[in-house]
């Protein structure tokens, strides 16, 4: 009986748990970044902004059951907003990032409203068109958006309080990680909240959900908007870290890589988004090393990460639909069962 009572979610405990998670993660990142060299700091920064967009995307696809192939384009919206505000208008960092989130959220409202009427392959096709079409705008409005070369921004300078020799890369990593932690806190709360439950309810059975009083279209739009906000922040952070916003970075391949990352990490799981971000950041390096040791041509090694993404997507759907996080969950529950046989069902 007490086991049952322990499983009833208490309203404030998830907030506290999220806060604890963020503090823990923040501490780990802080300690880790002190020990890393410049290259690894940048990898960490990359991982952080990937996590930001992946957290939103995995909630969208895994929790609310809507597919989007257009989140690369949404990242572009965030990146270009930041690039325009910091570069031309000389805004400060935090307001620019906030603005990126707001602008992308507005775009997300439009896309999300259209998306609620669409299902499965139609939604995929529409977001695909969005992903391919939006970056082309840079070519149309070259004076404003910089055309093929994109927009360059000055690197963010570390505040004087941290010392004159504070490495730029570490500062960028801190900025990106701060953004990632904000996303972690928000999304972890969301997943465990009533809003998160409404996503799942609508995903599993729209008719039943609407009979329970949920407005299906509204819930789905909220899911889209939330994921768009995450993508906007991710894109904005990308612009800050790379000091560049160009159409080439946001081609269709980005959207497809993001999809692979959430599928691989485990759809609907925030922790899965961490695994996915790690893969996106580390895989190109690993495949380069493999290509080197097998003396493969650049032609082969350059395409190797993509080939692996393609294989992963196919295999994941056929063999391993719940991704890394799913496998972890199964392993954990098996360990639990071994320690407490007959204790009941495995953990969620």
């Amino acid at each position: 009986m007490s086991a049952l009572a322990a499983r009833i979610p208490r309203p404030h405990s998830s907030l506290v748990r999220s806060l604890g998670l963020v503090v823990l993660a923040g501490a780990v990142l802080l300690i880790a970044s002190e020990a890393l060299g410049a290259y690894d700091e940048l990898q960490l920064a990359n991982g952080a902004y990937y996590f930001a967009v992946l957290a939103g995307l995995t909630v969208l696809i895994g929790l609310s059951g809507q597919i989007s192939l257009g989140h690369g384009a949404l990242m572009a919206v965030g990146a270009y907003t930041v690039a325009l505000l910091i570069g031309d208008e000389r805004w400060a960092l935090v307001p620019a990032l906030l603005a990126a989130v707001v602008v992308t959220t507005l775009v997300g409202v439009l896309v999300g409203a259209a998306a609620t009427r669409l299902r499965g392959p139609y939604l995929a096709g529409a977001t695909l068109a969005f992903a391919v079409g939006l970056p082309a705008l840079a070519d149309k409005y070259t004076s404003l958006l910089g055309g093929e070369n994109g927009l360059v921004i000055n690197p963010p300078t570390p505040p004087s309080g941290l010392g004159a020799n504070f490495p730029l890369e570490r500062w960028e990593a801190w900025i990106a990680c701060a953004g990632a932690l904000v996303v972690l806190f928000t999304m972890n709360n969301l997943v465990h909240s009533g809003v998160g439950r409404s996503f799942r309810a609508v995903r599993d059975d729209e008719i039943a959900a609407s009979l329970c009083g949920l407005h299906v279209g509204r819930v789905q739009t909220v899911a889209f908007v939330v994921s768009a906000a995450c993508a906007g922040l991710g894109g904005g952070l990308l612009a800050v870290v790379l000091q560049l916003a160009s159409p080439g970075a946001f081609a269709l391949q980005l959207s497809l890589s993001l999809l692979t990352a959430v599928v691989l990490g485990g759809l609907g799981s925030i922790l899965g988004a961490v695994w996915g971000a790690a893969v996106l950041v580390l895989l190109p390096g690993w495949t380069n090393d493999i290509a080197h040791s097998f003396s493969l041509s650049t032609q082969v090694s350059a395409n190797l990460p993509l080939a692996i993404y393609g294989l992963v997507l196919i295999l994941a759907m056929l063999v391993w639909p719940s991704g890394i996080q799913g496998a972890v969950r199964v392993a954990v529950s098996r360990i639990r069962e071994r320690h407490a046989p007959g204790a009941g069902e495995s953990s969620p």
Binding site: L69, P121, A126, L128, Q253, I314, A316
Partner: protein, 292 residues
């Protein structure tokens, strides 16, 4: 005025290519209720094979024929080996598998042939016809393109409406369980549907390659345009695919001519959204779909 005529003629010939891609998508949708997002990748591969064949043999038509045969084989292999496992399941799974195949094919093409787009010869002259002293924006090659679409559409119509095989394929598509109870080998019908679809896709690739060049990502836009045309016409209507293709080709030609070519994909997106909002089943669909 001549500009308008030129844009119209251009729209018809590009529309013919969109119609072919749309037909390929309609064929796989009708056969197995799957939108083959990998179609763009499959026709890219067969066009690359054609390109290599032409380069080594010197004969365009040999390359053409090889591409068509490879299309048939590729379509059959993809359905039997891969899509069979996700047919009838949640639509999202099939979408993701198709996308995975698309990425994989593009990466493989990059590995084998490199990422630099290469040129591809047209079947016939691309010099516009001389009409009363002015050169029109419609060439013998464009005529060939339109003829191909007409022949393919007519051929498919005859196949589906007039032959026993076509009847079996339609039955397998509409009600696979009932068809099996009537002795139809439904699995073979699915494979055949995909093989035909890939064949039609190969044709589209060969016809559009001179314009877009051959490279792993060069065919992404026509996948989108083909999908939009298919949705416009109705995903389960071959007639709709052809009409949708031509309508889309005309619309995008005018956009490109008067507003610039970089807005073309966004224009397609707008049309796609408009169709899905206003009339989700498309112009020619006879099927009642409660939601899209």
């Amino acid at each position: 005025m001549t500009r308008f005529i030129d844009l119209t003629l251009n729209g018809i010939s590009t529309g013919a290519i969109y119609a072919l891609v749309a037909l390929a998508l309609v064929l796989t949708w009708r056969a197995t209720r799957i939108v083959n997002f990998a179609q763009g990748g499959m026709l890219m591969i067969t066009t690359f094979i054609a390109s290599s064949t032409i380069a080594s043999s010197g004969s365009y038509w040999l390359g053409f024929a090889v591409a068509l045969v490879c299309g048939l084989v590729l379509g059959a292999v993809v359905e039997r080996g891969l899509m069979r496992r996700v047919e009838g399941g949640p639509p999202l799974n099939a979408v993701i598998v198709a996308l995975g195949l698309l990425i994989l094919l593009q990466a493989l093409a990059g590995m084998i042939w490199g990422n630099t787009p290469r040129s591809f010869p047209p079947a016939f002259s691309i010099r516009g016809y001389d009409v009363g002293g002015t050169r029109v924006l419609f060439s013998p090659n464009n005529t060939f393109t339109v003829l191909v679409v007409v022949v393919v559409a007519a051929g498919l119509a005859v196949l589906f409406r007039g032959t026993a095989l076509g009847l079996k394929m339609r039955a397998a598509a509409f009600q696979p369980e009932v068809a099996r109870m009537l002795g139809v080998r439904v699995g073979r019908m699915f494979t055949l549907g995909w093989a035909l679809a890939a064949l039609v896709g190969s044709l589209a690739g060969l016809l559009v390659a001179p314009e877009v060049f051959v490279g792993p990502n060069q065919f992404d836009p026509i996948l989108i345009f083909g999908f939009t045309a298919a949705v416009l016409g109705g995903l389960d209507s071959p007639v709709g695919a052809v009409v949708g293709g031509v309508v889309l080709g005309l619309a995008l030609s005018y956009v490109s001519g008067y507003e610039g070519s970089s807005l073309v994909t966004l224009a397609a997106l707008v049309i796609l959204i408009a169709v899905l909002m206003i009339r989700p089943r498309g112009l020619f669909s006879s099927v009642q779909e409660r939601r899209v």
